[in-house]
Symmetry: C2
């Protein structure tokens, strides 16, 4: 009987749960809405119920080695407390791990969601053949994860990898973290929507204005579609995303000299539009990058990277 | 008989050599000028002669465990080749380790000078009680070193820790590395002199102009002295140094979540003038720093940090 783990990606919108075996095969996967308005207790109770159901389904087919849960936000890792989460409002200082373990009667591995994605890419994705890598997840915010010689680099409080809060624009836009000009304020889906609104306000893109009338809401995907059809102002937005990613990644290359930097998250779907500026700025700003063998790549596991990584923790890998 | 090591700090101006025992006691220390104009062969021959003389002096008193040499610049660590060094012009791609070993007939440890300083502070300085730390050395350039769980973090090519080339001012001043707005262009002695020249050109500091007439040359020490006497424009220069250090260190805290960040090098003598802005910006730009227990401190070994660190490598520590 194969060993498997349950991986959970606890997002602000959806809660995704999968059973993955030690060969990396996804045995089961499903998703339910994260009913954040009902508060952490209810969300965690529903999550644990779903985990139990999945565990029952596995019974007799695969032995459950462990459970890993990726959580968006800054964790006190040793205590299993969620210190702060922009995507889970009202969860500040919530003892997430204790609550889950008391429901399940089992030990679980809690991890920052971007760290989980980094581990997923290391295990089964673009980082398969690397011992160390850096992951950036571009979503509502910008998350980050560092894998150093096979292990997640947690730092002394468990808060390392907050790469979305590297300053890339010294006098830039205010960030929810309290700083300004963070990578997150320039390269997240939220940043793209803000930049698109600025374009609309300035009347610089009739195509985007037309698309907005049809779709009502501006999303980063919509801006991408308009840019793909050749709209100059929308293409410039992705050029700017790439520029700031390049500045941030160049600093990481110069600091850490890792062999691989992976860009994932929903915004990575626009890779073709932002990658040229990203690579140009990484080259300009990093002598070490120009030495040649450092790689900057797109995530291959895409939305499932975090699920695979969470399961990898559950299997006892690279914790 | 105690074990000791010889540590060398190969600077662009001076070559400093010391014998340090495993308790951290400095047994001997001396310095000679680095005659860079004579080229690497001659400099290394003189250095090796001095090392041999020192080894002879130790004979019978202490057993020589090894030799560590801190070199300014980017190294291909596994090959012992100096890839690039702004302070040692003409040494590009020079096989430094091979040359030294052929002179001495002994294996030596080559290391970037700021990595050596970081290890020195970890061994005997402000980092004594820490397993991990980040060091910034503010001199002609800005160097950096990362100690992660007791070991120097080298990265995959041995080039990690080039923290002077984190971008802190996106459209800032051009940097010798090819980028612009690097920490080095804002917080090095060279940056202070450039900023002072701008102040003079704008006629903003009669006191600095007067000091320049007396001393002929503007140095960062001179700017510091004028600032200490209350000159507003010169004080603002150190405020700016602190601001950019704060931005850079905040990014490092958010990325790495290390417990300690040490500021050393000659410019750290102006700690009293730049530290307030440094701490203010680190606080503003790093949520994790505000969590409380992260420390930002001044080097305590000062100019000898690199010598102690080089000797520590020679003793087999933390390589």
């Amino acid at each position: 009987m194969s060993r498997c783990a349950i991986g959970v990606d606890l997002g602000g919108t959806n809660l995704r749960i999968a059973a993955i075996d030690e060969a990396g095969k996804m045995l089961e996967k499903f998703s339910l809405p994260t009913r954040t308005r009902q508060g952490p207790e209810m969300v965690l109770r529903e999550m644990c119920q779903a985990i139990r159901e999945l565990a029952r389904k596995l019974d007799g087919k695969s032995s459950l080695a462990g459970i890993g849960i990726g959580v968006p936000g800054i964790l006190y890792l040793d205590k299993g407390i969620l210190r702060q989460s922009p995507n889970l409002p009202g969860w500040e200082n919530y003892p997430v791990r204790e609550e889950i373990e008391s429901h399940l009667g089992l030990r679980v591995f809690l991890e920052n969601d971007a760290n989980a994605a980094a581990l997923g890419e290391k295990w089964l994705g673009v980082g398969r053949n690397f011992q160390s890598l850096c992951m950036l997840t571009l979503g509502t915010g910008v998350g980050g994860g560092l894998i150093c010689e096979g292990k997640v680099w947690h730092g002394f409080l468990g808060m390392a990898g907050e790469l979305g809060h590297i300053v890339v624009a010294e006098d830039g836009y205010p960030c929810p973290c309290g700083g300004r000009g963070c990578l997150e304020t320039e390269a997240s889906a939220t940043a793209i929507v803000r930049k698109a609104q600025e374009v609309l306000d300035a009347g610089r893109s009739p195509a985007l204005a037309e698309a907005q009338r049809k779709c009502l809401e501006i999303t980063s995907e919509l801006v991408y579609q308009v840019a793909k059809h050749g709209d100059t102002a929308c293409r410039e937005i992705f050029g700017s995303v790439g520029r700031y990613l390049g500045i941030g990644i160049a600093g990481l290359i110069n600091s850490l000299n890792l062999p691989l930097y992976v860009v994932g998250g929903g915004v990575a779907e626009a890779w073709d539009l932002f990658a040229p500026a990203l690579l140009e700025h990484a080259r300009q700003r990093s002598y070490i990058f120009c030495e040649g063998s450092t790689r900057i790549e797109r995530s291959v596991l895409k939305g499932d990277a975090g699920l695979y990584g969470a399961a990898c923790f559950g299997l006892g890998g690279a914790a």
